[in-house]
Amino acid sequence: MAEPSVLTRHIESYVDTTRSLNEQAASLDSIISLVKNGLVTIEKLVREMDMYLTTTDHVIRARGILLLAELLTNLSLKPLDNVTIHSLIDFFADRLVDWRTLRGALVGCLALLRRKSDAGMVPATDAKAVALSYVKNLQVQSLGQHDRKLCFELLECLLVTYPNEVASLLCFELLECLLVTYPNEVASLLCFELLECLLVTYPNEVASLGEDIIYSVCESVDGEKDPHCLMLVFHIIPALVGLFPNPSGSLASFPRDLFEVLGCYFPIHFTHHKVEDVDVKRDDLSRALMIAFSSTPLLEPFVIPLLLEKLSSSLSSAKIDSLKYLSYCSIKYGADRMARHAGILWSSIKNAISTSLKEPTESFYSESIDGLGFQENEVVSEALVLLETVVMQNNNLLLSMIVDDEDISTVFNTMTSYGRYKDIPLQGKQRLHVVGRILYITTKTSIASCNRVLETFFRPLVDILQLSIRSSSRDWFLNFGALYLCMELLAACRDLVIYSRELASNSIPAHETFCCILQSFCVSLIDALCSILETTANEGADDVDIYLRVRSLQILATFPEDLLAISDNVFKNILTTLMSIIFKDFNQKFLWKLALKALVHIGSFVSRYESEKAQSYNSIVVEKMVSWVSVDNCTLPFPLKLEAVSEIGASGRNHMLNIVQGLEGAIFSYVSDFYVHGNVSSAEVAIQLLQFYSEKVIPWIHETEGLEEILLRFATNIWDHVESWISCNVEVQEKGLLDAIMMAMKLTVGSCSEEIQYIILQKAYTVLSSNTSLLLKKSSLTSIPVQLEESQLIQHVDNISHRDELVLSLFASVIIAVRPRTEIPNMKEILYLFLTTLLRGHVPSAQALGSMINKFDTKAKSTEISRESTLEDAMDIIFKTKSWFFRDNEVLQRNGNGMGLKDLCLGLMNNIQLQVHAIVGLAWIGKGLLLRGHEKVKDVIMTLLECLMPDSSTRAAKLKQDSFENILEQDFHPSVRRSAADAFHILMSDSGVCLNKIFHAIIRPLYKQHLFSVVMPLLQSLLKNFDPSFSRSMLYRASVHIIADAPLIVVVSEAKKLISLLLEGLSILSEDILDKDQLYSLLLVLSAILTDKKGEEAVIENAHSVINCLIGLIAYPHMMLVRETTIQCLVAMSKLPHTRIYPMRTKVLQAMSKALDDPKRAVRQEAVRCQQAWSVLWGVNCMSIDYRRAFIFTRMIELPAEYTRFISCL
């Protein structure tokens, strides 16, 4: 047991108000540790403190009670027995009466009430006693802020932990609290939260409180402005209303009060935005208020007039809200109540739509705009939603209003006076648009309204149209307004029909009134439209006129057949008309696009719904288009043809299948024409067709299931044709065509499954083996290490014949695109083949080799004999196979060892061309290894680096036991070193032609980071340690490739080390025009570093050299983007600390004055920005005053000029 005196001393030190806060806290801690360690029990402590808890000295008593309370707060986990808890809570509840010691009592109550059941909780009866004492004794409003907060916390704690006992007791207390708290206080938020919780969880208890609770809630809400609280209020009100479901019950006397509370918040509008309010959005609040408004129909007499009144507000958000609320409340209040407001609602809607329309934009385009090209804002769309709601609700009432509406009938009456779109005045257009939209929405709502609207309005329209048709028998002319309204009605009917079909519950019978009306007149309208469209292109009609005519035709053609029977001939007429526009009027872009779009719509419609029309469509549209592609005899430009074909193909699976077939035929006939007859113009067409096939058709087939057969057919077809292509020895070379065929082949193979790829592979292999001499005899392949008997004339490394190249390239394409699991037949032979051809400079072979290496299954099972070799075997073949070299049948090697790929790279053969080919090949193989994360890639990198090093030839010579005499002490030839440097670009960059995701490469994540982190240190140390006399530009070049292609985040984090290297690289790359793309990507890296926080530090240190380098690039002549980005970088530099960059300022400004004269506008604009950024920083006043000017200035003041007047004003 501790010395009592120690305990007493601590207690005294805490109670003594003269002690410092630290001392008090220390003594509290000591007491806590005493109790925690069991040295003092609570009981003993209370006895010890007896005097302090009961003394008449208010200060000491307050401190004493607070001590006990704080102690309990800190001991919340110490288990206490029930008796102790009971006596303690009894004590604290009792002390709530004593306002002088209130703080301690509150803290104590809270500490005890918050205890968890495992450490002993306050029993429910005691909690209720606390609540009672609280209600009886506490006058929250008179307390200080901290105490008030404690009170609310206590309330919360009670309500959360003991809701059953205290719910009804505390409800009013809460409401009272709300009356005394101030807006925006945390406390009032808490109260509302609790109130909501009570209402939701204990509705019965609260409901039993009756009218009083409604009254109190209303009172407590009054004037609340805090958005968080309001959010709760808007939730509380519907919950409260829900408690009294009987409309004639206790709620009946309160709607006015409720409305007074709520109504003042509409429309929700934040007057000032504070940061902390961001989490409550205006829209959320507005939505909550809307639900509160609609919570009871009793509010209708108050709410609806308010909303209608706010419709005329100048605040557009208020208008939108009003319309939204009206739609929502209409549904909630019910048809009967809303019928009273129907008249005023109708006129308000009409008004809202017509006043909110904006002028039509100049660039009218049908994509986004309905009707007459008026921009519809949110007000209009909400008004239309409301219209739909109210028409649905009170169908007859609203319909008769619309039918009898004077504004609408005026529009009908004045329609005949204007024939064309451009004749109608703006106001007239606007009215027409409004009527069109209203009729569309109304018609669409239900069958009944559709019948009614068509009965009333269609006949007059037909009259106007037929009248104008008849008036000029030759020259067709359709009244614009009438046609427009007709189209809106037709569109509405069609949408209604299609919508109710989708519902499937109520299909519309064909004898409905509106169907009969449409039927009686559609044929003549179609005729009129077709014949007017034939002349549209020549008459120079307005865009809107054109749009209307094409769209009307499209709607008529896409009407469900059972409701509007259009004979096959009429349908064909429509298609022919549109097709003739596509064929002839391609100069009228807008008309052409619209016609194509209409055809696409019709196409997708017929392929979905009808079969008979589908045939007509197929023969008139699809087949014709296909014939256009395959026979080049029409004036329609080729790109437009392809566009039309692709759009039409997208309209239905069958259409696409037809088109694909036609396209394939066309491709083969054009390619054959080139290879067989040497027709160069055919090659151009073929390239376009192949590109189209690759870009549009293959992805489509890939996405559509079950069409792999087509891909197989296409690939086999190519291989079938190849034999005929190479049999005619046309020696015209067309690189573009070969590339296009290869890409098509790759994509085709890449989109197939393993089985089909295997079939294609076999086919390809057969063609390859029977048509070229490239493949080596099986007998010449012996076990590893093998001596590759190869007769190859080194002087003509590029001497693969064109026929061989075609076959080989296509074969390589197949290999590049196959999936990893696809079995490759005759693996060894193929490896040897590619190895041989890559040394002859055939890059696709190298890529194929890289792909093979990349996709090799590492876990090739030993049982699987069909897999000829494992990855290791393949690597052995590639790296250990020795080549023999002959010249005029004479062996060139002196010793009999032959050379491997690596030796060739290192120039042991002393043939530059061969060495370059070997390096390129090694790079692609290395890329395959790198992507899959294979160890061997390190060897490849080391070989490449070796090529870059100085004196590499000498070392290469030393490697050989017997060196050639003619090798001097020298570096490799520049072109060799350059290709070794560029090999790093191959390794790092994403290739579009092979080893990517589309062609199923195995790609390890973060491989670029990996290479970066392995190679960069090597390169940096090489750069640092080398003899300065040695030209290091190729080392820089290699580094630059790695930096430019590495992920930015890695480069930026290493910025400090890289920046000087990067600058050096920029100046090296700027020397050769061929490097412009690489230069640009490197510049982008620099700009990324400049804009990054970390990178900035690195730049600050090297500010001068960075700026100097950038200034050098400002005049870069070959690429505008480089100049633009350079100047942007300089702008970014101007943000650096002034002390670092100030000395460079003049230089930059001088450079900018030159850049201001750049031939490109974008550069000039950047230069202006840059100039400003650099000159404004230190004030523009950089001119020095000389005396002569000062003299003039003084003279000028004497002049009666505006200057002087102005200066005197200052």
Binding site: L1156, K1160, Q1165, N1181, M1183, R1189, A1201, E1202, C1209, L1210
Partner: protein, 144 residues
């Protein structure tokens, strides 16, 4: 002394709908009135229009005719000065810039024109710290 508002009820002008320039990736972009208007319009919307700017890119001459909002606008010279300074920053020094008020739009048309196109006076005006500050504020306040 403070400067009172000369134009107490300014008309707020909307930005005119722009005619899209066709981008040509290959050829050079000659300086055209639109480009100058682009540079100037954010400051001098009401006094300028695209039609009031003429450019001869070959000779390197720019002529700007602006219309002060009020006949006796004492700001006319300051506006002209601002235009000149702004253009000086945006075009290489070999461009010759002429700035004029449009005929009949200002009471002291001739003297304003004279001041605005006299090199020495412009230089001198810009060396007056107060005037300089005003011009800078006018030009850069909206940018910084």
């Amino acid at each position: 002394m403070t400067l009172g508002l000369i134009n107490a009820n300014p008309v707020v002008h909307a930005k005119k709908e722009r005619v899209a320039r066709t981008e040509d990736p290959h050829g050079d972009d000659a300086v055209d009135p639109l480009e100058i208007y682009d540079i100037l319009f954010e400051f001098f919307l009401s006094v300028l229009s695209e039609e009031s700017i003429t450019v001869d890119d070959k000779l390197g001459r720019i002529l700007i005719t602006f219309t002060p909002t009020i006949q006796h606008c004492s700001m006319a010279t300051v506006i002209g000065l601002c235009l000149r300074v702004k253009l000086k920053h945006c075009f290489p020094p070999h461009y010759k810039v002429d700035i004029k008020v449009s005929p009949g739009s200002h009471a002291n048309e001739e003297s304003v024109n004279k001041q605005l196109n006299d090199k020495e006076r412009v230089a001198a005006a810009l060396e007056n710290p107060n005037l300089r500050q005003l011009v800078d504020e006018c030009l850069y306040s909206s940018e910084l």
